[in-house]
């Protein structure tokens, strides 16, 4: 930082800044500085670039179009684009259904494992097994598992004599959505389970013992003691998962890539096809911005719930 050529008022300002950074008030900012720089460089700056492109007719193979400003045209077209809104609604449903089911199943799993005393460490590792799988691998895996002619599921059903005709898992509208939801749940329930198991293990024993002495049945104990205690953990898990639920893109791309006939199209698959295959990056980034709004809405929703649950617990803000 050179100050020699700065106007007269600047040295005073710079000194003020320097003084601030030497004062104790600056410590938290200094501690946060590296994190802020990284986020700025990797997230914020690219976001600004793509924000700009969403107002241009930017075509990937024609670099000059990056400066072809078209105002709100991309957004206007999207507003009237039925396919986009279907994908948007489907993404909303996909996120809502998977997060809630993952939470319920993860809770069940955590409660079960918490009851097992012997070999729990091994069980916990097994439970985390799906977390070792890259989303793209999960995609290939379930593409083969749900394949109608050589897939594991149909083979099993044939061998058990339950079906005589293969079930078109990845084709039928309902089943295809079921399949991608199943794969997503398989991939991510463990994360819920491990976070909730941690919550259960931190559960204070005294109130439970007291409640039992008072004659509460297990259901009442769960409802009035365990569950309220777990709520912050549940919201944490929800927030964390809502942050990276877009990981599911890798998986869906491999399994169905939005098909057939757009029955499993999510914003992420539509966006990537528009941007990279059709080269319409400006339009794709406009979709991206609308999808970011969706993610932000989910995260802020859970974050608020979390803050409320924390204050209910009497913890620090």
């Amino acid at each position: 930082m050179t100050t020699t050529t700065e106007p007269l008022s600047r040295p005073g300002f710079m000194e003020g800044v320097a003084a601030f950074f030497r004062s104790p008030r600056a410590v938290p900012y200094l501690l946060l500085l590296p994190a802020m720089i990284v986020i700025l460089a990797v997230v914020l700056v690219p976001l600004l670039v793509s924000f700009w492109t969403s107002f241009t007719s930017y075509n990937l193979t024609k670099p000059a179009t990056l400066f072809n400003f078209v105002g709100l045209r991309n957004y206007q077209r999207l507003l009237g684009n039925e396919d986009f809104w279907w994908a948007f609604g489907r993404t909303f449903m996909f996120v809502t259904i998977t997060l809630n089911l993952e939470m319920l199943l993860g809770l069940g799993l955590a409660l079960l494992i918490n009851k097992i005393t012997w070999g729990q460490r091994t069980l916990r590792t097994i439970m985390m097994f799906p977390m070792m799988f890259s989303p793209i691998l999960v995609g290939f895996q379930f593409k083969y598992i749900f394949n109608d002619s050589i897939g594991l599921v149909n083979n099993a059903l044939f061998d058990l004599g339950l079906i005589s005709q293969p079930i078109p898992w990845l084709v039928d509208g309902t089943l295809a959505n079921f399949s991608i939801i199943f794969a997503e749940i398989w991939m991510s329930t463990s994360i819920f389970a491990i976070l909730l198991l941690a919550g259960l293990m931190a559960l204070p024993k005294d109130p439970i013992e007291a409640a039992k002495v008072d004659g509460c049945n297990p259901l009442q104990v769960f409802q009035h003691i365990t569950l309220p205690f777990l709520m912050p953990f549940i919201y944490i898990a929800m927030t964390i998962r809502s942050l990276d639920v877009a990981r599911a893109y890798d998986m869906v791309r491999i399994m169905t890539n939005g098909g057939p006939a757009g029955r499993t199209e999510l914003i992420w698959t539509l966006m990537t096809r528009t941007g990279y295959q059709n080269s319409q990056m400006g339009m794709a980034n406009a979709m991206g911005y609308i999808s970011i709004l969706l993610s932000i809405a989910f995260t802020v929703f859970f974050f608020r719930k979390l803050t409320a649950a924390r204050s209910f617990m009497g913890g620090a803000q």
């Binding site: 986020i39 793509s50 799993l109 919550g199 964390i240 970011i292 913890g315």
Partner: protein
């Protein structure tokens, strides 16, 4: 666990059965990939289905390392090293930076604190696909496309917010008095941190680290954009080497998948004691 003794035997068996079913569902799809890695291709297609490989074979691994005449090997060793270097480096740095940030949130009051915290969290909501092209353009201008460094920086941004969150909760658990007492005894603030607070926060950091590691180790969307050659290509990106325009070599891919899973599994098993402890303290309150 005192509850155990209060259950009737049938309840205990019901729980065990439930755990068993859950474990089967969680492991079978994955184990099937592992089995496929040891099958000849012809068994994959067999009808009626061949459940347990009848001809166990290491061919798929041999092909992977180029020990077969049929085709050239893949630079798997190089991918593996890239993955390891990138994941470990970004994990360590993310934990250090995240810890500093978490400490700031836990121990200091400052203007814009709540907003800043939320901003960090929200930075994670941006889907990788939305970031990939602008990131690519900027990285290309900086000349860090296809370098480990470029990918490490990206993974830092992916992992820092979560690390901040976990460590923030964790440091808040540790009473401020401890560090203050140490400072009265003549330690500097810096010494007090390393001697008192850091050891107490260790399991929280371990759990943040394992999450960061698994995320980086398995990440595909961004890595596939920002890496190109053996100079930086990671294992998940390498998986796509098995897909050509017309075919997917599923047995070969499975063999590689096994190589991806094993290190993650071993590491998780080692760290998972800390993981539970870390999450228990870290998250709430």
């Amino acid at each position: 666990m005192s509850q155990m003794s209060m259950e009737k035997p049938w309840q205990r068996w019901l729980i065990r059965f439930g755990v068993f079913v859950a474990m089967v569902i969680l492991t079978v799809p994955g184990l099937w990939v592992v089995l496929t890695a040891f099958r000849p291709n012809i068994e994959v297609l067999a009808r009626p289905a061949v459940w347990i490989p009848q001809q166990w074979t290491l061919d798929n691994f041999a092909r992977l390392f180029g020990q077969s005449d049929a085709q050239q090997g893949l630079p798997v060793a190089q991918y593996f090293i890239n993955s390891l270097v990138i994941s470990l480096t970004s994990t360590v740095i993310a934990v250090v930076i995240g810890m500093a940030g978490g400490y700031a949130f836990a121990r200091y009051r400052f203007r814009g604190k709540a907003t800043l915290f939320l901003a960090f969290m929200l930075s994670r909501t941006v889907p990788g696909v939305a970031l990939s092209l602008p990131l690519f353009i900027i990285w290309a201008r900086l000349g860090i496309i296809d370098t480990s460094f470029g990918l490490i920086v990206v993974y830092l941004a992916v992992n820092i917010p979560f690390t901040i969150w976990l460590t923030d909760g964790f440091f808040r658990q540790i009473p401020v008095d401890l560090s203050e007492a140490a400072q009265i005894d003549g330690c500097t603030a810096w010494q007090a941190f390393w001697k008192i607070e850091f050891p107490l926060a260790r399991s929280g950091l371990a759990s943040a680290a394992i999450f960061a590691f698994l995320t980086s180790w398995n990440e595909y969307a961004l890595a596939s954009q920002l890496t190109r050659t053996t100079a930086s290509k990671t294992m998940p990106v390498g998986l796509m080497d098995f897909t050509a325009q017309f075919t997917v070599d599923w047995t070969g891919m499975s063999a590689m998948a096994v190589l991806i899973i094993i290190p993650a599994l071993v590491l998780t098993f080692i760290v998972q004691k800390h993981l539970i402890a870390g999450l228990t303290f870290g998250g709430v309150k």
